[in-house]
């Protein structure tokens, strides 16, 4: 232990003596780690957001497709589905995307029967400041705080949105926060009647049917029975959706990772170049150490410590910077690529979620080759006799 501490102390001093080399390598290492860690953090955080979001979704969602396009479902189908064994509740849902050309962005409009549905939503949403729209009273809405901020609206302000050849007014009566940040990013909750006007969904129709089951294992049987009775519908299983989201973010994160691979390779080439070019001063120092009785193993251990400090320091800075970039600054430059489908999402603040195993893997991916690469030139110099090192022989 004393030996390791003494060599560690020497390694720290050695890194400080070669400030230029140390800083350039640490900066390059920090940059590469920052890029990879940002993708990792953001992907993991999004996966966490969606997992939380999925927990509040129905076990099954029935959608109708016409010529491959989503169409509306009949509300009346909810009655016989609710009678099926294993089904605990069925809700016709009115929701949709509302595009506003002036903002070049989509809102997600969700129609809510605040008396009937709030108990279910209330577990995930907190309203304040303000209040919920009064049941049955039109032209009132609550918005996610990210959206209200984006639109610059305060309580009592109203927006007027075009619907066909007319306009629909919505007054902001409350702002809601959610434990799922994505839910509050672009969502407007309005009375179901207002949502029908905005989305042009007639009475008796709905966007889809949400089905809750007594146990998710019933899903396959219930889905098959519905499909038999309603040919042409698509039934989305929550578990299937979970896997789809995972796959989507894995694919996007993986693609970003692939795009960053050249940066990693460039860094390793730089590190190799800087480390293999053991300068005259460094060679002389190794010669001095050997002359005063250091063994090859001592020299390699000191170099291992020095580069481990550099790798951990550089990677640590990169990881902290990535954490700040993703969880404090909202991942500018990255959110657009990984989310990609709404101009509102860059304002999203995701909940910090860090996977320790992935971090260790990242450190191994970036740090380990760097430390290993640094040992080769040190070993080449350390195995030579001190006399030739001191006399400057190459």
């Amino acid at each position: 232990m004393r030996r390791q501490l003494a060599l560690l102390g020497f390694a720290v001093g050695s890194a400080l003596r070669r400030t230029g080399r140390t800083l350039s390598l640490a900066a390059a290492l920090a940059l590469v780690t920052f890029a990879f860690a940002s993708v990792l953090f953001f992907t993991e955080a999004l996966r966490g957001e969606f997992r939380q979001g999925l927990a509040a979704l129905p076990d099954l969602t029935v959608q109708r497709l016409v010529a491959g396009r989503p169409s509306l479902v009949e509300e009346s189908d909810a009655a016989w589905i609710a009678e099926m064994p294993g089904v605990t509740a069925v809700r016709p849902r009115v929701w949709g995307y509302f595009f506003v050309p002036a903002l070049a962005g989509n809102f997600t409009v969700v129609g809510v029967d605040f008396e009937r549905d709030w108990e279910q939503l209330g577990g995930h949403l907190t309203v304040g400041p303000g209040r919920l729209p009064e049941p049955g009273r039109s032209e009132e809405a609550v918005m996610g705080e990210a959206l209200a901020r984006f639109l610059g609206l305060d309580l009592g302000n109203a927006i007027t949105v075009p619907v066909g050849s007319t306009f629909q007014r919505l007054e902001l009566v409350g702002v809601f926060r959610s434990d799922v940040a994505l839910w509050s990013a672009d969502v407007i909750l309005a009375n179901e009647s207002d949502a029908r006007v905005l989305l042009q969904i007639p009475e008796g129709a709905a966007t889809d049917l949400g089905i809750w089951l007594s146990t998710p294992d019933e899903g396959v049987v219930v889905a098959r029975k519905i499909a038999d009775r309603l040919p042409g519908v698509r039934i989305v299983d929550r578990q299937l959706m979970s896997r789809t989201y995972d796959l989507t973010f894995d694919t996007r994160g993986g693609m970003m990772g692939m795009m960053l691979l050249p940066a990693l390779v460039a860094f390793l080439v730089l590190a190799w170049d800087r480390l293999t070019g053991v300068g005259a001063g460094e060679r002389r120092e190794i010669g001095v150490l050997k002359a005063v009785g250091w063994r090859t193993g001592d020299l390699l251990l000191a170099r291992l410590w020095e580069n481990t400090i550099l790798a951990v320091g550089g990677a640590g800075v990169g990881i902290v910077a990535a954490y700040i970039h993703v969880f404090w600054a909202g991942a500018p430059g990255l959110a657009e690529v990984l989310l990609g489908w709404s101009s509102l999402y860059p304002a999203l603040r995701v909940t910090p979620a860090v996977d320790g195993a992935q971090l260790v893997a990242l450190l191994c991916l970036v740090g380990a080759p760097f430390v290993a690469a640094s040992l080769v030139p040190a070993w080449r110099a350390a195995t030579r006799d001190p006399h030739s090192l001191l006399r400057g022989g190459s």
């Binding site: 003494a6 003596r17 001095v288 050997k290 002359a291 250091w294 006799d385 001190p386 006399h387 001191l390």
Partner: protein, 228 residues
């Protein structure tokens, strides 16, 4: 070591650099036996092989042929690990350009040999403090070596070579960068060490050292061959 055993013994020592037609012989069949407690000077022109001989005697280079014994112990065929221990404990080497690590203080340089052992012990620290005092270097212990004068660096390098209290001290051109006053001071210190029982071998082409009558013996090396 038996009392009759030389402290430094080279037997048929040769060193050749390179191979084939570019090979260069630096030292040829050198045999020399230096008794313990003596101060020898090896003289000769530049390129005669003096530094190579010193490197071989100090276990810094492996010979092409021949054998080196220090205090009765053969070091020629030792592995790197054991030769490092010889360099740390049995022989202290002072290089012509001092071989101090820039960016470190004099004290840090002096304590370098103990770093792989986990740092110097109390006795070692006491001995180093004594050496610093004796060589008048205590005020400079915390000074970065590049801020020291040539004479101060020379003394610092000798302190480091003596720090582990080795019985043998090898010095490569110890007076090369010193003025006459410093040469006198250095000679006094080296002779004191000799009188305390240390064996000293110095390579030099400085007549101020080579002609000093207090040096026990002067041998001349020309073109890698030790003149009789």
């Amino acid at each position: 070591m038996k009392p009759s055993e030389p402290a430094v013994h080279a037997l048929g020592l040769s060193k050749r650099y390179g191979a084939g037609h570019t090979a260069k012989t630096a030292l040829q069949e050198v045999t020399v036996a230096i008794p313990a407690g003596e101060f020898w000077a090896i003289t000769g022109p530049s390129g005669s092989g003096k530094t190579t001989l010193l490197g071989l005697l100090g276990g810094m280079i492996a010979p092409t042929q021949g054998e080196v014994r220090l205090a009765g112990q053969t070091i020629t065929h030792l592995r790197d690990h054991h030769r490092a221990l010889i360099r740390r404990n049995l022989v202290g080497m002072v290089f012509q350009e001092f071989a101090l690590v820039s960016g470190m203080s004099l004290a840090e340089n002096i304590f370098l040999p103990w770093v792989p052992e986990g740092g110097a012990g109390q006795n070692d620290r006491r001995r180093v403090a004594g050496l610093l005092d004796r060589f008048g270097m205590t005020p400079f212990a915390g000074t970065q070596v590049e801020r020291l004068s040539a004479g101060e660096r020379q003394r610092g390098a000798i302190i480091r070579a003596l720090a582990a209290d080795p019985p043998i001290l090898l010095l490569d051109e110890p007076t090369a960068s010193l003025d006459t006053a410093n040469v006198g001071l250095l000679m006094t210190l080296l002779l004191q060490l000799r009188d305390e029982g240390k064996t000293l071998v110095a390579t030099t082409h400085d007549l101020r050292l080579a002609n000093d009558p207090r040096v026990n013996r002067v041998r001349r090396l020309v073109d890698g061959v030790l003149e009789t």
